[in-house]
């Protein structure tokens, strides 16, 4: 029962607006982030119990539309919805009408006809989540749109950092690798900036977006720049996004030699994060990935509770006391 009391204190009422979405970190305020992290923390406590399912979103429907392959994000959204007792439905691009050339609008309208409460969408094109938000009546969660945004990844990363360090303000995070093609980096730069953490991007010059400093971060093309950071956040070298002959880097071998994160390039005590999936031996040395200072598995666990918090937050507009009472019933 003690858990539940803690939860009641932590579940702050979300700001009541008409129909809210989670499309971009740029749309969030500092208060929004703090509320989401607090909610995630209370869900983490609830998951420590034997009975892991909460009735909070009973009768609600969450539709997952995944137009790109995904393990972590799709599984954690599905499990998050189930842990909150929502009905879930998952649509993948292959094997659906998308294969028959159906437009995103028509697929969204078709699924929207079931009146889902939330549509979670992962799509290879920038603007897909905004587009679905415009054409349906559901709350939309962006689970990654092209190279643009991956806001729930950034939130779970903040959650991981908050749990590890007990604070976000003043932390120094070095983000290393293919920033140009990384939606994870874009969301994370904004999220860390919102919480007053310091960000240094470290990448080969062609993989640093032009004028990216305007996002409020520092940049370096030297791997030594990671030395000053509390956390080294390693990005995947996204080989599938590398156009043939684009010559961003001469070879993966040269990338690894100059920018690979190895034990020798780290200071003792520096924490390591990676959004997955990892290319061991390319952007990250296997010894670094498996070291005690790596928070990579923590990130995956954080993904579940953070996504529970996002779904809860979007669908909860009533007084928090009612929700807390529901939680009490289950206990």
């Amino acid at each position: 029962m003690a858990d539940i009391h803690v939860m009641r204190d932590d579940l702050l009422p979300p700001a009541p607006t008409e129909r809210r979405h989670l499309l971009s970190i740029a749309d969030l305020s500092r208060d929004d982030v703090q509320r989401l992290l607090a909610t995630a923390r209370s869900f983490a406590r609830s998951l420590e119990r034997e009975m892991k399912k909460l009735p909070t979103l009973r009768g609600r429907t969450v539709v997952n539309m995944f137009y790109e392959s995904s393990t972590r994000t799709s599984s954690s959204f599905e499990l998050a919805a189930k842990r909150l007792s929502a009905d879930t439905m998952s649509i993948k691009a292959s094997g659906s009408s998308v294969d028959k050339g159906e437009s995103l609008k028509d697929t969204a309208l078709t699924l929207g006809a079931y009146d889902p409460d939330v549509i979670v969408i992962r799509h290879p094109q920038i603007g897909a989540a905004q587009f679905v938000a415009r054409v349906t009546r559901a709350h939309v969660v962006n689970a990654g749109d092209g190279k643009h945004q991956h806001p729930t990844q950034a939130l779970l990363d903040l959650y991981t950092l908050q749990e590890e360090f007990g604070r976000l303000e003043g932390l120094h995070v070095a983000i290393v690798g293919d920033v140009l093609h990384s939606r994870v980096a874009r969301s994370l730069i904004q999220a860390l900036g919102l919480m007053d953490a310091r960000v240094t991007l470290v990448a080969p010059p062609p993989l640093l977006p032009r004028d990216v400093e305007a996002m409020g971060c520092e940049t370096s093309t030297e791997i030594e720049a990671i030395g000053a950071a509390d956390i080294v956040y390693v990005l995947r070298m996204q080989r599938e996004r590398m156009q043939e002959g684009a010559n961003y880097v001469p070879s993966l071998r040269e990338y690894t030699a100059r920018w690979g994160v190895t034990p020798e390039r780290l200071r003792p005590g520096q924490k390591i994060m990676h959004p997955g999936p990892m290319n061991r031996g390319v952007e990250i040395d296997p010894r670094v990935a498996d070291a005690a200072d790596a928070l990579i598995e923590t990130q995956v666990r954080a993904g579940l509770v953070t996504r529970m918090a996002v779904l809860y937050d979007l669908l909860t507009t009533g007084p928090v006391g009612v929700k807390a009472a529901q939680l009490t019933e289950v206990a």
Binding site: G127, A128, G146, K147, P209, R210, D211
Partner: protein
């Protein structure tokens, strides 16, 4: 060179407007009498006789506009625009003449295709329309079209608009051979290996949104190349839709060095910057893309000092379903002929960035001169090509008001000032009245 349906000129008196023709040095409250489609007299309190009188008190009468860059989508995409709908839309925008681009399906690269357009224009076109023909067959950038034959068949000029001519040697041949046609050569300047997959201007906004950038240098490098070739061949050249500061600088430098270079700019590049792309609205996606604030300032400067002679809408209609997709999947292009004056009056004249006189000149006599057309003038003896403007009228741009078959306008829902009340093209009232 310009074609429209045959119709008798009208007898008309436009009463009490502020008559403003910067090229003629006219700015006075006058009546204008039109006899049989020609301007007969300007004066105070003209006798109406049997003429229809249009009360224009409080309104501004100016030379009608000329749009040197319109996509009429015919042949091939008549669902998006036709000669009829496009010229009606242009009439509603205050235009008395437009030029259509040849990147249709099929491409206007033979006298047969051009002939079919001329024939259609003679039955459908509400206002005079000219047709540019392609420089290369199929706009494939490999072989020159029959430029001489196309000129004889009525081509207003030559362009591969939508596609750059990537091979410098071919561009040089086009400049050399184009001399026999006596018609202007207009170039779409884009270095394709630098713009590849580019969705928007490369800069701080693309860095944040994650779009592959289409950098300014992808345009200006090609502008510089084509100006160099034009200088070397001592041939005139017209640069289509400049968007980058460096392109304006290059054109200005070439003009100073004696190259017969002209340039045009689109209303959206003059009114917006890449900040607008944050909306992820497919109706702010166009090629060349919206650029940065310093680019916009340079375009306005170029317009003011005459480096850029012409405002060209690059009216690019798209079917609704083609734009109702995520930004990244949407085709390039926005409509413009019906909104250009109001957009520019609201965004440039009202805030004091350019004068009304400059706007009128760059929308009328400027573009006419680029293509060797006679400029619309408000003077006795001239054919009546007039636009009556209400500079006080404010309205919200609504899709339902468009005469175009497409509605992919960046101004949808925006409140603008300045409305076309009446358009007279080639002596005939084609809008309002």
């Amino acid at each position: 060179m310009l074609y429209s349906k045959a119709a008798p000129g009208e007898n008309l008196i436009i009463r009490g407007a502020r008559v403003l023709d910067p090229s003629e040095g006219v700015d006075a409250l006058l009546d204008v009498r039109i006899d049989g489609g020609s301007i007969a007299e300007l004066g105070a309190r003209l006798d109406p006789n049997a003429h229809r009188v249009i009360d224009a008190e409080g309104l501004t009468l100016a030379p009608a506009f000329v749009d040197p860059h319109v996509h009429l989508r015919t042949p091939g995409r008549e669902d998006e625009e036709t000669i009829g709908s496009g010229t009606q839309a242009a009439a509603a925008g205050g235009y008395c003449a437009i030029l259509a681009m040849p990147n249709t399906d099929p491409v206007v690269d033979s006298a047969a295709v051009l002939g079919s357009l001329v024939e259609a224009a003679e039955t459908e076109a509400e206002i005079p329309v000219g047709f540019l023909a392609a420089i290369t067959k199929g706009q494939a950038g490999a072989e020159l079209t029959g430029m001489g034959e196309l000129a004889d068949a009525g081509a207003a000029g030559f362009t591969d608009d939508g596609q750059p001519i990537t091979a410098p040697a071919l561009m040089r041949r086009a400049l050399q051979y184009g001399a026999v046609t006596g018609r202007p050569l207009a170039v779409h300047c884009e270095e394709p290996t630098l713009s590849r997959d580019g969705q928007m201007h490369e800069g701080a906004v693309s860095a944040e949104l994650g779009f592959t950038g289409y950098p300014s240098v992808a345009e200006s490098l090609m502008v510089e190349r084509d100006l160099s070739l034009a200088a070397y061949e001592r041939r005139p050249i017209h640069v289509l839709h400049v968007s980058a500061r460096e392109s304006v600088d290059a054109v200005r430098a070439a003009q100073a060095a004696g190259v017969e270079a002209t340039a045009e700019v689109a209303p959206h590049h003059l009114c917006l910057t890449d900040e607008a792309v944050r909306s992820l609205d497919a109706n702010v996606k166009m090629n060349p893309p919206l650029r940065g604030a310093s680019d916009r300032a340079a375009l306005i400067d170029g317009l003011r000092d005459g480096t850029i002679q012409a405002i060209a809408t690059d009216h690019a209609p798209h079917a609704r379903h083609e734009k109702e997709v995520p930004f990244e999947a949407a085709p390039f292009g926005v409509t413009g002929v019906e909104t250009s004056f109001a957009a520019l009056y609201t965004h440039l004249v009202e805030p004091g960035l350019i004068s009304l006189e400059t706007l009128l000149t760059r929308m009328s006599s400027g573009p006419a001169a680029v293509y060797g057309m006679s400029a619309p003038r408000i003077a006795a003896g001239e054919p009546a090509n007039l636009v009556l403007l209400d500079l006080a009228a404010s309205r919200r741009i609504e899709e339902s008001a468009f005469k175009s078959r497409s509605a992919n306008s960046w101004l949808l829902g925006e409140r603008v000032t300045g409305k076309v009340r009446l358009t007279v093209a080639a002596g005939r009232v084609v809008y309002g009245g």
